[in-house]
Symmetry: C2
Subunit: 160 residues, 2 copies
DNA sequence: CGCTTTCCGTTATGTTATAACATACACCGC
DNA sequence: GCGGTGTATGTTATAACATAACGGAAAGCG
């Protein structure tokens, strides 16, 4: 009975971490980029509980393991992971979270619980935004879609 | 020939500022909240050129007019304006922008030009996100939708 | 070996945001 | 007028987030 939640649902966490890590390693090999110890450990830390963490939170963990103590260490590793699509940045929280379905490049959407802070990654298309952009001639390269509200666990009983 | 752009289109700016300010004033009266000098001036500053400004940029302007020089002054005024829906916060830029169509409460969507920094507010529905949220039981209270890309003016000639 | 590239370590600083506390002022019932 | 109440301001200090810039280690390659 895994206690970690991926999004709002329980799941087999150890296999999920293993697979995410494997996917990342494979992608790195294929792309000719390096999954160095710092980068790998940063990804593992984010995968550990699927929660959004600030760069400094990650840094504290890295520091505890002797992998670096200065902000640039964390920011460099996180930038790499975001570039490679293994991790997403949540603008609203100034935080980072491991991708819930790595492997395919995508524009993520997030649901952020205002109460418990749990973050779930949703699969959505930004078609409506695309239509609006086309009208005005705007060329979309990347979208940030973040919804804030209440996750199932945090909703008052009668309100769901 | 007004030089300011609302979004990517030119428009009659002085009348637009006047009307936005009027709408805000009316709304305050109706809601029983106060449009104090600092708040009003902050809104005017943001309306001036329809561009996204950082809190400290606004603060510099306020300071120059003797309306306050310390960060909380700007943040309080901006928080008020955001709460009342006269101003939106752009998470991705850590910046603020006057609402392009105040009066009706709405979840704004933005198109942010990577090159010139121009920000346009779009009218879109977050229906797709809503459907996704409903499936997982998430109760959306607020959404942030921000697209980054190239505005018409910044696109290379043959690429539009 | 000399050269390049990539990653890492460190210093220093810049930028954004809020906690906490003190003061001013208007309004109201008395 | 006076004390209480609420809202808005002023001020200090610090928290939290992020990057510029420079030097050094290590790997790959002629
Ligand atoms: Zn998991
Ligand atoms: Zn993802
Ligand atoms: Zn205008
Ligand atoms: Zn708006």
């Amino acid at each position: 009975m895994p206690s970690h939640a991926l999004g709002f649902a329980a799941h087999d966490h150890s296999s999920c971490v293993k697979s995410a890590l494997g996917t990342a390693l494979d992608a790195c090999a294929e792309r000719g980029v390096q999954m160095t110890p710092v980068r790998k450990r940063a990804l593992e830390i984010l995968l550990e509980n699927h929660s959004a963490m600030g760069a400094y939170d990650v840094l504290v963990r890295l520091d505890a393991e002797g992998l670096g103590s200065k902000p640039p260490v964390a920011y460099r590793a996180l930038s790499f992971l975001v570039e490679q699509g293994f991790v997403h940045r949540i603008e609203r929280l100034n935080a980072f979270i491991a991708c819930a379905h790595p492997g395919d490049k995508h524009d993520p959407a997030f649901m952020i619980c205002r109460t418990c802070g749990t973050v779930a990654e949703a699969q959505i298309s930004s078609a409506t935004l695309g239509a609006s952009a086309a009208q005005s001639g705007f060329q979309i390269e990347q979208t940030v879609i973040e919804a804030q509200g209440l996750c199932p666990a945090c909703q008052p009983e009668g309100t769901a």
